[in-house]
């Protein structure tokens, strides 16, 4: 497999930053960055990462099931993550999550038919003092209300 020049450069660097013979350390970072480009962790990607890090594909498979951010199926173009953990719960995170389900017409970890959105109820993401919080892909949104979320979804729809 080949990747964009930026990703290839990142991979090349990743293989140098861990001690000699410890390139297995690069497995998770490679998967994290590659899945953004490939869409998800595919079979082909598993084998490619295994080859580059000098480990067995099974050792790559092993970590995929463990880390919640590694996905073997494509997410929506905009992955909407709503936190319902304690600080968000106390400030409306649950209502927000229910509202997101209704607005998008999908449930937890589902993708809209057009592939534009996916939804996930997530655990605390480190925005507790500015709760309730939502992360869209890697962008944080603080003090989110149902109206703000609707506007955000509308804006993303227009962007496509």
């Amino acid at each position: 497999m080949t990747f964009s020049p930026a990703l290839e450069a990142r991979f090349a660097k990743l293989l140098t930053i861990y001690p000699e013979g410890r390139q297995r350390s690069a497995v998770v970072p490679m998967l994290m960055y590659a899945q953004d480009e490939v869409g998800c962790v595919t079979r082909e990607l598993v084998e490619e990462v295994a080859r580059r890090c000098g480990v067995q594909p099974m050792q790559v498979d092993e970590v995929i099931g463990y880390y919640s951010m590694l996905h073997t199926k494509p997410l929506g173009k905009y992955h909407i993550q709503v936190c319902t953990n304690i600080s968000c719960l106390l400030t409306g995170g649950e209502e927000l999550y229910e509202h997101a389900k209704k607005t998008l017409g999908i449930g937890n970890k589902e993708v809209t038919p057009d592939g534009l959105f996916s939804l996930e109820e997530v655990e605390c993401m480190g925005a507790c003092s500015w709760a309730p919080a939502v992360e869209v892909n890697y962008d944080f949104h603080h003090h989110v209300t149902c109206e703000k979320l609707d506007r955000l979804i509308e804006d993303l729809r227009k962007l496509k």
Partner: protein
């Protein structure tokens, strides 16, 4: 732009540079007094650096509150093996959102703290393990590191001092358990993040089997201040054995939630009033989670205390990670207990049985209770199952799940009873959003 208004009553030591534009630039940091502590430390024998940290009474800000200087002294600095420095930036304890700010607004302070740590334990390579959700911070931290290299603050022969240090960022991928130090080590080695048997402690056998100094972002970020102004000055800010300031993440039912830097020993109720602007909507305070969701809950009447590690321990709770959650009178504590347990059940790595099974059963029991199908006999069982996890797991995740649950069952038993006999949750008609 800062995420919340700073409060004039703050004691800004670690956060004093917050808000200065272009914080990722080494030059900006230097222009604001940065990297002077590192230069000072290069002229100090390592024992003296560690001594200053000991004198400062700095205690780990990741949750356990272990004395930092003592931890540094455990690393065998003369070991022929390479020694590694790791910064724990996994920040996943519910209620905690401060490491994020320290990396975003003053990344070089963290780099400098790690450099000083490197001098102290004779390490030349460090890694910052940042949770995967913080991708934007990973990028920012990478920029700051690149700029530090470009200006000779990282790499070979730093500023002509003869000291070499390389620093890298490692991304997590979504797992609370990887914040536990030994699980983090397995994770950085490219494995599933499951905890290791201790001892040996990471200081002796850590990353790739080598001596490793592992601290939280805030802990390292405090170090330049300690070396620059002296350990005694830092210690004097706090209370005996509880040195310095810390970033408290105030969340929940307050008028002005936010992250505020205050000295250790600040009175809790005064903090909620003067910083948080009091409980939202003029409601009454019901409970406080003082330092992240793994801490035993305090009832309103138990909150008339000062906030330092020892006082919180005496009150039967913990200062933890600084995530302080304020809960008002309209909150269902059964629901709070359930949500907290759902988290720990989800995050249990499954490595040891008491934690994996205990959290799962507790989640199911609490759910049933909240749904109105609980039985009176379930109440003591919830307490018992929790107590059976305490101290019986590889890492403290089992304790983290048990402690808040035990405290809620003991202190809010009447709320459990109010859910009995198919009665609907008495708080259900009070949606949180209505208060917003």
């Amino acid at each position: 732009m800062l995420y919340n208004e700073p409060n004039p009553l703050e004691t800004r030591v670690l956060t004093k540079r917050f808000g200065i534009p272009n914080s990722e630039k080494a030059e900006v940091y230097v222009a604001n007094g940065g990297y002077q502590a590192f230069l000072k430390a290069t002229g100090m024998p390592p024992e003296k650096i560690i001594e200053e940290v000991k004198v400062s009474n700095l205690r780990g800000r990741g949750g356990a509150g272990f004395p930092t200087g003592l931890k540094w002294s455990f690393v065998p600095r003369t070991s022929p093996k390479p020694k590694y420095l790791i910064c724990n930036a996994d920040e996943s304890e519910p209620g905690t959102c401060k490491d994020r700010l320290l990396m975003e607004y003053d990344p070089h302070q963290l780099i400098e703290g790690m450099l000083i740590g490197g001098l102290a334990v004779d390490s030349h390579k460090g890694y910052i393990y940042i949770r995967g959700e913080y991708r934007y911070l990973i990028t920012m931290m990478e920029h700051a590191i690149d700029d530090a290299y470009a200006h000779g603050w990282l790499g070979k022969n730093i500023q002509g001092t003869g000291f070499d240090f390389d620093l890298y960022v490692h991304t997590g991928a979504g797992a609370y358990e990887c914040g536990e130090e030994t699980a983090l080590l397995d994770s950085i080695e490219g494995k599933r993040g499951v905890p290791r048997m201790k001892p040996p402690f990471p200081a002796v056998a850590g990353a790739w089997g080598c001596p490793t100094l592992l601290n939280n972002v805030e802990t390292y970020s405090a170090v330049p201040n300690i070396i620059r102004d002296g350990g005694a000055a830092f210690a004097a800010l706090g209370t005996p054995k509880n040195g310095g300031t810390r970033l408290v993440c105030l969340s929940g039912h307050v008028n002005k939630p936010g992250v505020y830097e205050i000295p250790l020993g600040y009175p809790m109720l005064e903090f909620i009033e003067k910083f948080g602007g009091g409980v939202r909507g003029g409601k009454k305070l019901k409970a406080v989670i003082p330092g992240g969701s793994s801490c035993p809950v305090l009832t309103a009447s138990e909150c008339d205390i000062i906030m330092d590690y020892d006082t919180l321990a005496k009150a039967g709770s913990m200062l933890g990670s600084g995530g302080m959650v304020v809960i008002d009178e309209d909150t269902c504590m059964v629901k709070a207990a359930l949500r907290i347990m759902r988290f720990y059940a989800h995050e249990s790595c499954g490595w040891c049985v008491p934690c994996r099974e205990g959290t799962t059963w507790l989640r199911k029991m609490l759910q049933r209770f909240h749904d109105g199908m609980g039985q009176a006999s379930d109440i003591p069982i919830i307490g018992q199952v929790s107590k059976n996890m305490l101290g019986r797991t590889f890492c403290a995740l089992g304790d983290a799940a048990a402690m808040p649950t035990i405290s809620i069952v003991e202190k809010f038993r009447e709320e459990f009873e109010a859910h009995l006999d198919g009665r609907p949750c008495p708080y259900e008609h009070k949606p949180a959003m209505a208060l917003a």
